[in-house]
Every structure is written in structure tokens, then in C-alpha cells.
């Protein structure tokens, strides 16, 4: 049996409290406040204490989906990515790069946001990039 305590940052608001994810044999068991964290010093709110629960939710998507005739079917990554790339290429060809919008996420990491806006600007060729900072 293997048990780990992995440092992470709570994703439920902009405060950025430090947590430890307790795992046993690769399963997420609980969220523990990180005592020596500079922001939260070993305290959390109700959301932080239950941070692991949404990750363990049976409602999670497990595979990429493609809608065919109004219904979602499971698909492989290669297919989902290819379909998307083809459709975006078509749209860019037909209407130009500014016909595409990208909504990046305030819940992704810096690396992912950087990459998403790079995708919009360098690959799609548009500055139509925004996220929910206003909402």
C-alpha cells in the first residue's frame, strides 16, 4: 500500500490556499490544509476542505465526445482532435481567422493559458481571446 501527500493549490477562489492531496494507492482520499503555507497557514474554508470531491465525482467526463446526429458518442483523442482541427481550418479558410473565438479559463494553469492564447494568436491567427474575469 502506498500513501502520498501532494502539495497543491485550492482552485475555488483567487486566494490560493495551500492544500495537500492525500492519496492511497493512486486514489484521492482527502484534502488536508498545508500547515506551513504562506497564504493559508493550515486553514481552509468549506470548499477547500472538500476540494477532492469534485475530482472524484462519478459525473466526470472520461472520454472525448463527438456529436453525431444530435447525440454524443465516445471517441478517441486522435479523432476528436482531427475533427476539430479540420473544422477550424475550414472556418478560417471560409471566413478568415477572426471568425474564431477562444475562451481561455481562469481555472487553468498559467502554462495552459499561455498555450491557449498562443494557439489563438499563432495558429488560428486571431486576437479573439478572452475569459471570464468579468463574470
Amino acid at each position: 500500500m502506498k500513501c502520498t501527500f501532494v502539495p497543491s493549490i485550492c482552485s475555488y477562489c483567487g486566494t490560493g490556499c495551500g492544500v495537500l492531496f492525500e492519496t492511497i494507492d493512486g486514489k484521492l482520499i482527502s484534502t488536508i490544509p498545508m500547515k506551513s503555507h504562506p497564504v493559508s497557514g493550515g486553514k481552509l474554508c468549506i470548499k477547500g476542505w472538500n476540494l477532492h470531491e469534485h475530482i472524484n465525482s462519478p459525473m466526470r467526463l472520461k472520454k472525448p465526445l463527438v456529436k453525431t446526429f444530435g447525440r454524443f458518442i465516445n471517441t478517441s483523442w486522435d479523432e476528436a482532435i482531427q475533427i476539430t482541427a479540420d473544422r477550424f481550418k475550414d472556418i478560417i479558410e471560409k471566413y478568415g481567422p477572426d471568425s474564431i473565438g477562444v475562451l481561455v479559463s481562469a481555472k487553468m494553469s498559467n502554462e495552459e493559458n499561455y498555450l491557449a492564447q498562443k494557439l489563438a494568436r499563432a495558429v488560428f491567427g486571431t486576437n479573439n481571446v478572452d475569459h471570464c474575469a468579468r463574470l
Partner: protein, 265 residues
């Protein structure tokens, strides 16, 4: 100490050992195993304290045969006693490596860092309850003043349930604090004082005075003092020393049967 842990892991006395190690300047809990025996060199005893015995109960629930070693100060030891009395841990499967308590007034030559906390702020001393106050002092207030002061503290509550979540001896599958008929959900602060008094009542005969609850409280509510008072009543009325006595407390709100089913997570 490191030698002992290595010995235990190597000869199979324990399957794993819960302690601490430094990770990027932060002392964090760590599970040492035979497979990574060299890591034991990094085993650390620090003032930082996590509820290792609660983690042990998580492990024991998944594999009741697992032999668990852990680093134990006096408070951890008291918690382990309570947890074995209430069948959350099997005393034959738990191996505590006793380390010196952080220094404490409870024990000579020792003082628990959780007892000599930071100085309470002036305004709080004036209107609320001084976290460093002893029980007799807190009892000296008139009933009315006690009420006003405690209500000031309870009103700050963010309903994080941190006091319950971090508590090594809170293990019920269903928690009264989440019972809608007793405490209305969805409001901040929670219904006071019932939220805190219900928890205090449930701590009778269970609280081992480790101080982790107060340490986890974002609003510095003097929970340790509150539960210590409850513990004092149990001691005076029933002559029961929580954490030291070898039987279940005569006063229990846990009902006839203690559920051993997994807590919903």
C-alpha cells in the same frame, strides 16, 4: 530513531511508517516504505504536526490487516488510545514510535507548541475569549458576560467544518453537524451557539486535547478551551480521563453502535 524505523520496515514489524520529511522547505507528512528504505534518512521530527493517526485510520479502513507504524507525541498517543477503544484502529496493528512531546505545561520538561500559542490580540481579549486563558479564569466571568464573549467568538465562524475534519477522533460516518433538523444548513455564520455546542457535547469523552482544531480554525475561535471544559466535566463527574482510560467513555452521544463503514468522501 531512524534506525528503529528502518528495522521495523525491514523485519516486517510494520508495512509502512508515517512520519515527516522536508519538501522544498516545508515539513510535510510522508509515508516511508521498505521499497524506498533510503528515504528514512530524511525522516524528520518537527514542530509541524499533522494528524498522522487519522491518516492511519484511512489506511486501516482500506486494509484492516495493514501494520502501520507512526511517529507519536503524547497527543498522538492519546488519540491512538481513543481510536483503538472505538475500534477505528486495531491496537495490535499500530506501532507508535514515541518521540518527545513538544514542550508542554502538561508534562514537565516539555511544552506543547500548541499550548503556548501566539499572544492573543488586545481587542479580542477585551470583547472575546483569550485563546491562552485557562479554564478557571474563563469560568470567572459572569454568566451574561460569558454568553456575550462566547457569542462574539462563534459569530466569526465560517462553517468550514475544519475543527471536525482535522480532528483525529472524529470518525462518525454521519455527522450531527450536518443534520438538517438540528442545524439549519446554508447560512453564515451557522446557527449559533448550537453548532459549536453540539460539537462540544460530542467531544465529551473523546477530545484528547491535541489542539489541532484551534490550529485549523481560520477565525481563531478558542475551541481548545471549550472542549477542555467539556473534558473537565467528564473527568469530574465520571472520573474518566480521555485518552488515558482503557474503556469507552461512560458519557457518549455516539449511540449503541459505532459504524465502521467508510466515511463518504
Amino acid at each position: 530513531m531512524k534506525r528503529k524505523v528502518k528495522e521495523w520496515l525491514e523485519d516486517g514489524t510494520v508495512d509502512l511508517f508515517l512520519g515527516y520529511r522536508m519538501n522544498c522547505g516545508h515539513p510535510l507528512p510522508h509515508c516511508f516504505t521498505k521499497e524506498e528504505i533510503d528515504d528514512v534518512e530524511h525522516l524528520l521530527v518537527s514542530r509541524t504536526r499533522y494528524s498522522l493517526e487519522k491518516i492511519a485510520t484511512h489506511l486501516a479502513k482500506r486494509d484492516p490487516e495493514l501494520k502501520i507504524g507512526l511517529l507519536a507525541r503524547d497527543c498522538n498517543q492519546r488519540a491512538i488510545n481513543v481510536l483503538t477503544i472505538w475500534h477505528q484502529l486495531d491496537k495490535d496493528k499500530i506501532f507508535a514510535l514515541n518521540v518527545n512531546c513538544c514542550p508542554s505545561p502538561i508534562k514537565p520538561q516539555a511544552d506543547c507548541s500548541y499550548m503556548s500559542g501566539e499572544q492573543t490580540s488586545s481587542y479580542k481579549v477585551q470583547v472575546g475569549i483569550d485563546n491562552l486563558m485557562d479554564i478557571e479564569k474563563a469560568d470567572d466571568f459572569s454568566d451574561q458576560e460569558k454568553n456575550v464573549r462566547w457569542m462574539y467568538e462563534f459569530q466569526k465562524c465560517l462553517k468550514c467544518y475544519g475543527c471536525r475534519n482535522i480532528c483525529p477522533v472524529c470518525f462518525c460516518a454521519e455527522c450531527t453537524l450536518e443534520h438538517k433538523d438540528l442545524i439549519g444548513p446554508g447560512r453564515l455564520p451557522p446557527q449559533i451557539p448550537i453548532f459549536h455546542l453540539v460539537r462540544a457535547a460530542h467531544m465529551a469523552g473523546r477530545c484528547i486535547d491535541c489542539g489541532l482544531c484551534e490550529d485549523a480554525c481560520p477565525m481563531d475561535i478558542p475551541l481548545r478551551l471549550l472542549y477542555r471544559k467539556v473534558g473537565e466535566i467528564v473527568k469530574n463527574v465520571f472520573d474518566y480521563n480521555t485518552g488515558e482510560s482503557s474503556e469507552q467513555s461512560p458519557l457518549s452521544l455516539l449511540g449503541e453502535k459505532v459504524s465502521l463503514s467508510l466515511k463518504p468522501m
